[in-house]
């Protein structure tokens, strides 16, 4: 595994994509990690439930990016398959989330996450 992190193996095995020749696994992982972190930060800082949910989606997709990158790195399709399932789940969650949000909005007429603080202690 050290080799993975120490050699700057080019992901763009296909030399036709010259534009990506310098792009390594690292870059993808970096993007992925950044997205994940942004998702976390967004989740923690935004008040609106919908936006918070979108942030979790962003975290999911960060994982998706990493999966695709690894898939390419390992030259198998497992990661890509995984991503498809992730997308499916994300869609399911989105449906659930929106249903829930609508339901909540009906009850309290607000989407502020801090409106729900009755239970504590």
């Amino acid at each position: 595994m050290d080799s993975l992190l120490t050699t700057s193996l080019t992901l763009a095995q296909d030399t036709r994509l010259e534009a990506f020749a310098g792009v390594t696994l690292y870059h993808y992982l970096f993007v992925s990690a950044t997205m994940f972190s942004l998702g976390v930060i967004g989740f923690l800082s935004r008040r609106n439930l919908i936006i918070m949910f979108l942030c979790t989606e962003m975290m999911f997709q960060a994982a998706g990016i990493a999966l695709i990158a690894f898939s390419r790195y390992w030259l198998n399709h497992t990661g890509e398959v995984f991503v498809i399932f992730v997308l499916t789940i994300a869609a399911a969650e989105a449906a659930l989330a929106l249903a829930l949000v609508v339901y909540l909005f009906r009850r309290k007429s607000t989407l502020d996450a801090d409106a729900w603080m009755e239970l504590k202690g």
Binding site: M1, D2, L4, L5, L29, S32, F36, G39, F43, L49, M52, F53, T56, M59, F60, A62, A63, G64, A66, L67, A69, F70, Y73, W74, N76, T78, G79, V81, F82, F85, V86, I89, A92, E93, L96, A97, L100, Y103, L104, R107, K108, A113, W116, M117, E118, L119, K120, G121
Partner: protein, 529 residues
Amino acid sequence: MIEKLQIIHPEMALFAATCIVLLIGLSGRSALRSACAPLTGVALLAAAWLGLQSPGADSELMQGMPFPGLLPYAKTLIALIGLLILPMLAGTVDRSYEKAVERGEVYNPMRSTRGEFYAFFMLSLIGVMLCATADDLIWLFLALELTSLPTYIMVAMSTSRLRSQEAGVKYFFLGAFGAAMFLYGFALLYGATGSTFLSEIREAMAEPGGAGPMAMLGLVMVIVGVSFKIAAVPMHFYAADVYQGAGTTVAAFLAFAPKAAGFFTLLILLGAVGWTHGPNGDALPPELRVILWVIAALTMTIGNTLALLQTSVKRILAYSSVAHSGYMLVGLIAGPGAGSIASNGLAAMLFYLLCYGVMTTGAFAAIAALERRAADGGREEIDSIEDLRGLCRVYPLVGWSMVVCSLSLLGLPPLLGFFGKLMLFTSAISAGEIVLVVVMGLNSAVAAFYYLRLAGYPLLEQRHDEAESPTLTPAPGRRLAACVAAVGVVALVVFISPLQRASHEATQLTPLPAVVEVKPASEAEVARR
């Protein structure tokens, strides 16, 4: 290929029932609608029976799985605990609506949620079973999500009060947050090993240097992410709020199903890493061991200490659920041991899961069986510990069930919980985790305080005001569940040996060729079987 489906026969049975229940839940005939629960029961029974028939360690199909013998135990356990929870569910949703219909209101399928509720219940159980069945990270991910997603809805719909919605929103959002964590961990794990097949991951890890930083980071993230399912530190925050907000019956379900899913996940994943590291070659890799150690210790301590301060029974049980996760982690840390049953921490964990399932379901069922006058004049489920006063005298069955289950949760011999803890003790001491055992012991003592309250209020206190005191709900199934659980807590003591043997067989780790040399004792043990 078709014979491979044997592995998921129980799931298939449940899924078929799910589809039917979804349909008949919409039926205009109330008799048909009310068949949802019995049908679910039949399906669970079938699943339990099929679970017993699942391919075991001797089956061709299971070769290559880390725990080839896991399926029969896991699936039967899940189905049976589901069967125990099922009677409680009656009346959780639609009760008032069904009454209205009886009074003559025109039935509107769009308003009925009964079918969905039972369907979600079964779907979630399917998810748990699939977790135990998984041989692939993708499968595992899907199974975990399948476990969780229905429960989000169950929580939100369990009562019509705002609290349930609050619980739902917290549970869902934090759940998604946690799911993202373990998903990312899966991605890293895949990245480190190049495969999502657990058997291949296992081989990769067993190679020298296989368990590198990225794999470890991935595992750590998975562990933390899955901690959400088992309500362990640092992902335990939601537990109390959600349990309290959710209807009691759903809370009971939450206390068991996601936890079981989480522990099966951890079992399988850590099985892929193997307890072949450490200085003596009989432990997890040190970094994993240490973080699990920290998580276990903190989980017990925080769960128990927070429970001390509560007056809401559901919150107490929620924090107790947190604490029990900590106990079970001890078994996971101890690992499979050197062959004998009592040294097998994984078996101890699975056995404890069984004990915990029975005990906690009993306790939840006892409080679910009661209701009191709400502020708005209707009836609501009880929550405050004050409502338990003098229960044994008024409703002896419910009261004594509460007492017995609380004492068992406390770990008082000769009840079931004690033997669960004892096996954790023996395995942890075999693994040399003496400090952890002491921490666990002290935590049990701390926990004794609030369990004593839970047992003492029904048995020893007196009711203040008869008019304001809780009465039984019209759903007899809840009483039944409580009694069955209480009887189980007492009676299963007789069957501890076969149960532990089963859990031992379920946790036989397939040795890796490379590992064999490190663990001669284990090899000898396996060879003898």
